[in-house]
Amino acid sequence: MSWLQKLLPPRIKRAEGTRKSVPEGLWRKCAACEAVLYATDLEGNQNVCPKCGHHHRLRARVRLDLLLDAEGRFDIGGEVMPVDPLKFKDSRRYPERLNQAAEDTGETDALVVMQGSIKTVPVVAAAFDFDFMGGSMGSVVGERFVRGVRCALEQSLPFLCITATGGARMQEGLFSLMQMAKTTAAITRLAEQKLPFITVLTDPTMGGVSASFAMLGDVVIAEPGALVGFAGPRVIEQTVREKLPDGFQRAEFLLEKGAVDMIVDRRELRDKLASLLTLLLRIPAA
């Protein structure tokens, strides 16, 4: 970004950003402060708005890329692929939705699991991809999660999970609901082995994921402004028939209510995780 652009007030920038001659994808508007940002600036800042600090969503692989050391990481559970157990069809068939999501995201389902290290502390880390059918949890997400946990158990490693999900995947019906029990059951084994389990709740973390393992981390971290809850705000509003308080179900609200341990800025997350892990694992300070 040039010095001139930096000096220009946002309104003028916005007009500039919408001009047709500008190639698509070069500019991005911050969803919170509406500042128009140079896309590479936003990406270079881990998708955090340099103006207002709003945390935009991150894709699963980008997330893991930012958290894990560059060396020695590999995928776990990539061989597990979705099927259509119910022959589910609404306006479109479930396999069509899966294919579409795969085409749009380059992923095969909504969870990416990797083994690697954070500032040399070895870990297994799982990240949800919200762009893949809303990060919804079906059989594949559950199984990949479990394989990640198993991998952590076999090598006595901590397990991290970064969530970004609307909840259970409706298209797999009760199979999806059972993934709540399956994933939560898996983390009991980590506890038995005294292996740290840390969750990072990002925007949004709702429904079946929120109401299973997400709130059960040894340490539960939330990103600033992340929407985290069991029921969606719209459903609650319709049920109680009153306007929801400002900031309801946001990370700051959860911290105040005692539901999470801390809110961590994404740009400090890697350091924070490393320090939490070394403390829990009693690794001497470097």
Partner: protein, 322 residues
């Protein structure tokens, strides 16, 4: 009590109304009409049989939510000989959408935990329509721990539209409360037998439904989201609920065929509400058999078996990564 008939049962309702009328006039009538009454009763029965033989999933959902359907405390009164209800989560409140306590089952001490709906308006509000708040799940958790401490098998009865989506519920950690129960049930060192008696609504149901055996009453349902909820998200209209019910696979029969449910407990003709005692007795028999099968397992065998059961949930394929 007079039976309430559902929309699809209207032909039966009409017949029953006629029978009722005839019974009323029978006493003053000069001619004997008892034969006619008997004929109509038979007709009503066979009509019920016909209608119930081909219920759609959506119709089954209506039976599962029938206003006269037996609720947890109804089953408790028929199945157990003593029931000492315990209250409260020791932290915030006593959530009456979940009931629980020690009971005697064929002489044996057990712990009972179940969702509870209300019958009349006042009780419905008291029970919050069977939708628990976090304190309900935490009461259940306390009772699970208590059961484990004294070696009592846990019998749970599931009947909820879902966990309550309210402001206070979120403030007090609805998600954590449900998640915690899933975790504790996974490791509980006593047998856990779960029965869906009415509506098995999503996470709010699952929070007391993780166990060694999962039973479903014949006309109960169990689903990841209500048919209305699914329809309003995927079809953008809650009126498509019947279609959603069809594709989601919410009935006992479908879930049994998918391997998600262990056994279906048959209900009297026309649903459990027609003869609650008969329904309770058939459930009692199956509960007894289920407990007997689990009785010989040591606590660690029990937990290991339950863990493997949970790990087996899900359908996927494996493919070499290219």
């Amino acid at each position: 009590m007079k039976t309430t008939f559902l929309e699809f049962e209207q032909p039966i309702a009409e017949l029953e109304a006629r029978i009722e009328e005839l019974r009323f006039v029978q006493d003053d009538s000069a001619v004997d009409i008892s034969e006619e009454i008997e004929r109509l009763e038979k007709k009503s029965q066979s009509l019920t049989k016909d209608i119930y033989a081909k219920l759609t999933p959506w119709q089954i959902a209506q039976v599962a939510r029938h206003p006269q359907r037996p609720y947890t405390l109804d089953y408790v009164s028929h199945i157990f000989s003593e029931f000492e209800e315990l209250h409260g989560d020791r932290a915030y409140a006593d959530d009456q959408a979940i009931v629980g306590g020690m009971a005697r089952f064929n002489g044996q001490s057990v712990m009972v935990i179940g969702h509870q709906k209300g019958r009349d308006t006042k009780e419905k509000i008291l029970r919050n329509f069977g939708m628990p708040r976090p304190e309900g799940y935490r009461k259940a958790l306390r009772l699970m721990r208590l059961a484990e401490k004294y070696g009592l098998p846990v019998l749970t009865f599931i009947d909820t539209p879902g966990a309550y989506p309210g402001i206070g519920a979120e403030e007090r950690g609805q998600s954590e409360a449900i998640g915690r129960n899933l975790m504790v049930l996974t490791e509980l060192k006593v047998p856990v037998v779960c029965t869906v008696i009415g509506e098995g609504g999503s996470g709010g149901a699952l929070a007391i439904a993780v166990g060694d055996v999962l039973l479903m009453m014949q006309y109960s349902t169990y689903s990841v989201i209500s048919p209305e909820g699914c329809a309003s998200i995927l079809w953008k209209s809650a009126e498509k609920a019947p279609e959603a019910a069809e594709v989601m696979g919410i009935t006992a029969a479908r879930l049994k065929s998918l391997g998600l449910v262990d056994r279906i407990v048959s209900e009297p003709l026309g649903g459990a509400h027609r003869e609650p005692r008969v329904a309770a007795m058939s459930l009692k028999r199956v509960l007894q058999e289920s407990l007997r099968q689990l009785a010989d397992l040591t606590p660690s065998e029990l937990v290991e078996r339950r863990f493997e059961r949970l790990m087996a949930y899900g359908r996927y394929k494996e493919q070499a990564v290219g």
